[in-house]
Structures are given as C-alpha cells and as structure tokens.
Symmetry: C2
Subunit: 245 residues, 2 copies
Amino acid sequence: MEPALQWNDSPAACLHGLGVSACADCRVRQISVCAALDPHELTEIDSLSHPTAFPAKSTLFTQEDPASAVFNITEGMVRLYKLLPDGRRQIVGFALAGDFLGLALLDRYGVSADAITDTKVCRFSRSAFTAFLDKKPHLLRRLHEFASHELSLAQDQMVLLGRRTADERIAAFLMSLKERFARIGHTSITLPLPMSRQDIADFLGLTIETVSRTFSKLAKSGVIVVVPDGVRLTNLAQIKALATR
Amino acid sequence: MEPALQWNDSPAACLHGLGVSACADCRVRQISVCAALDPHELTEIDSLSHPTAFPAKSTLFTQEDPASAVFNITEGMVRLYKLLPDGRRQIVGFALAGDFLGLALLDRYGVSADAITDTKVCRFSRSAFTAFLDKKPHLLRRLHEFASHELSLAQDQMVLLGRRTADERIAAFLMSLKERFARIGHTSITLPLPMSRQDIADFLGLTIETVSRTFSKLAKSGVIVVVPDGVRLTNLAQIKALATR
DNA sequence: CGCGCCATTGACTCTGGTCAACGCTAGTGG
DNA sequence: CCACTAGCGTTGACCAGAGTCAATGGCGCG
C-alpha cells in the first residue's frame, strides 16, 4: 500500500521524495517503456523521474507549447486532442496507465493533453530523458515500439473515422477500450467510462446526441446496459461482431 | 542520367547489379532515413539493399502477411490501405520518394501497399535491416523520427476525417500533397494526381461522386483548374484558407 | 471502330447533425 | 431541510450534407 496522501487543489503537485511511485514498486513498470530497463538502469531513471499528480480536468500540456517534459502515466486517464480555429475538436486518443506521452521527442507538443480523472505520472525533463536515451539504445528501441503501436492504433482510428457507421464506431470504441483496460488489469464486464459524452463524440467524429442515441439503441437491443460512468457489456459477441464488421 | 531500362511486366523486377540506385548517387538519400549514415555506413547498407522496381498497380505487400522486407522508396507513389471484411477501404497514406515502408519493424505488415505509378525502391530483408539497426543507434533514432512524423500526419488525418467538411478535406489534401511534392523537388503550381478519384475518396472518407463534385465546385469558383492527372492551384491563398479553417 | 474504364453530373435518399425541450443529479445557499 | 441552479445526458422533430443509384461523357487501347 502507498501512504495516504493529502491531495491539494493545485495542478501538477510534485510528489518527489514522498516515497510515491518509486520505480521499484511501480505498478505499471512491466507494461510501460521502463520494462526495457535492468535493475541498475531503473535506479538511474528513478533519479531523473518527478512523480507528479494532476487533478481531474487539469492540463498536462498544450499543443504548440515547447515540450519541456515527457510523461509516463502510472494512474488515471488523459485525453489527447487537437482543436481547429473555430473550436471543433478531435480527440486523437485516450491515454491510460502505462502509456507514454511525448513519444515524438520533438521540441513542441503536437497535441494538447488534459487529465480526465485524477492522474499520476512520472514526469521527466525532455532534455534529461533524451540524454539518458542516447546512452540506452534498447530504451530507444522500446520507445520506437511504443510509437509504432500508436501509429497502428491511429491507422485503425482512421478506418473508423473514414469508413464506419455510428453504431460500428461505438461498438469498436467499447471493444478497444475494454481490451486496453484488460491489459492494465481491469477485466470486469463493466467498462468504466470516465470521459464525458462530448469526449466520446469528439473521439469518434460524432455529436453528443448521436452518441447518446446509439447507447440507448444498444441498451434497448440488450447488448449493453448503461450505468453511471460506464457500461455493462452484456453481449460481448454481438458488440465484437458490430465492431469488426 | 541512369541507363535506360527495359521494363518488363513481372512485378518486383530486381535491378541489383545494374548500377541502378546505388546509394552513392541516390537522389533521395538526403531526405530519406539514410541521411543518418556516414559514407562508410552508406557502403555497408548499399550491400544490404536490393534495388527493385514495381510497375504501376502491382503489390508491394499485403496486410497481415509476414513482413519479410522493408522498403525505402526512391521513385514513384504507393498507396497504403486497410480493408474491412465487407470491402470498404480506408487509404491511410500515400507514400512518396524518400518515404520508408515497414517503420514498425513488426513481423507482420499492418497495412497493404501497392504501387500507384511505376515505383522504384531499395528493398531490405527485415532481418538484415534490423540486425544493421542494432549496430547503429543513430539510424534507429532517425527511424523513430520518421515514425513520429508519420504519427503526427496520422493525427492530422484523424482531425480531417472526424471533423472537416468535404470541401475542407479536398483543400487540405491538395495543400498537404503540394507541400510533400515540394520537399522532393517538385514545386510547380500544377499538382500531379496520379491516383484515381476512388483512391482520393478512400483517403478522405468520401465517395468518388463527392470528390468529383467538389473538384467541379472548386473549379467553377476559380480556385483550381482540373487538368488530366492533376490540378492547377490557381488560388493558393483561398485553398489554404479552406484547408486550415 | 467499339469496348471498357474512369470521371462527371443529376435526381433522390438517408444517416447523422441541428435545434430545442426536458430530466436527473450534485452542489449551493437561504 | 429544501428550493434553486448549473451541468450533463437523453429524447424528439426537423434538416442538410454527403451517399446512392443511374445515365452520360471522354479517353485510351485492342
């Protein structure tokens, strides 16, 4: 168990030195980029890491800002998005525990990121991280694998946005989120949906009304049950069929 | 000048030993992944490379097939796409000279690729290439930069597919293609469009009819002139305005 | 010359968007 | 303790942008 923490309201509370999220007992180590590191390297990167907490709705970084830091998410959920000048928004991904933000290592962020739930991260200064990376090709290799995986997810999302109906989008969204939660140890049939309907709509290229109507339709036909902050997937086979059609 | 070549109809004609596309006088070296290599390394990779020609409409590789090779495109244009079981297609990108196919280095291809025009590539066995990569971290770093750039393009495409109108999609497509052609030395106001209307539609998440109508509409309003296998961008400012709105 | 492929255009349809009303819940303050 | 409000989600009625279906045109090729 971690020690109980007093959460304050200021964004990005740094927890360094509080014995929090030390690499040694990091819950996401095996599934994060850090899995590429041996015990000695783990102590090295531990000393570079700044464990930090972001309360729900706070901003991790904003598109076009100088990329001073990169992040390894240890807990919570983050939305990554781009805005058009007139305010239209496209969410390009939801980041979960184990995900890495700032993969591109560019000097400016390509997207904006804010916490959906209370979120904990390991923050690294980008310069320190890239310097460490230059000494550890196997870590770079792992980072490249993560980036390739992201690219693959992005291509799947292009298929969804370009060629799928509203029903299929919702089904595919539920299936892929279920699989991602399973990877981080949450295997329940009840899928938490901490993001708002607007977030889901902006991820799937729909409107909030269409998302709501589609949930209702799926609920009426018995394949899901809508519960507060989530859905119960009562007919997985049917959802999978819709998702992969 | 290269020696004149007799093109035969067989796909994937190997030009090895014909003095074609040697790294020393490779036209795309400075903009491709190879720019990370010094002269000595260039001779090393030269010996791994199989210069190969793919005639228009031939297949480079197919989604889910074992990824035996990776490719550096030196000339031509390739479409990368995914298919749904019922035949719906989403083109996830057009690859031009200087682009690298197989960035993910996974053991199966994540997309299918076929040549739109006659295309020349440097083909590498994936195992040989990854072995070389293990000795050259700076090449891995360059590959990672390429993958990150691809990811960024994919995110832009998600915004386009999720949140832009047909007019905006066409305008954004023309602008980004123009910029990519400019990078490889083609700066004319007349933009070649070697791909079919169906290809454009499947890239932009539209139908062939909507693409055609939108071209006609833009032509009628004077911002483009449709020419055989391309368009002349007669009012760049207007197109850019539409594209970034 | 005539066939086949691709692109264009028109008429009509439909999926998903827009606009609006309403309900539920949590938070606030009298 | 409850009235009031604000924010989010749901639902209904209507609308419009893009899709579908079909006819026609243009061009390259055998």
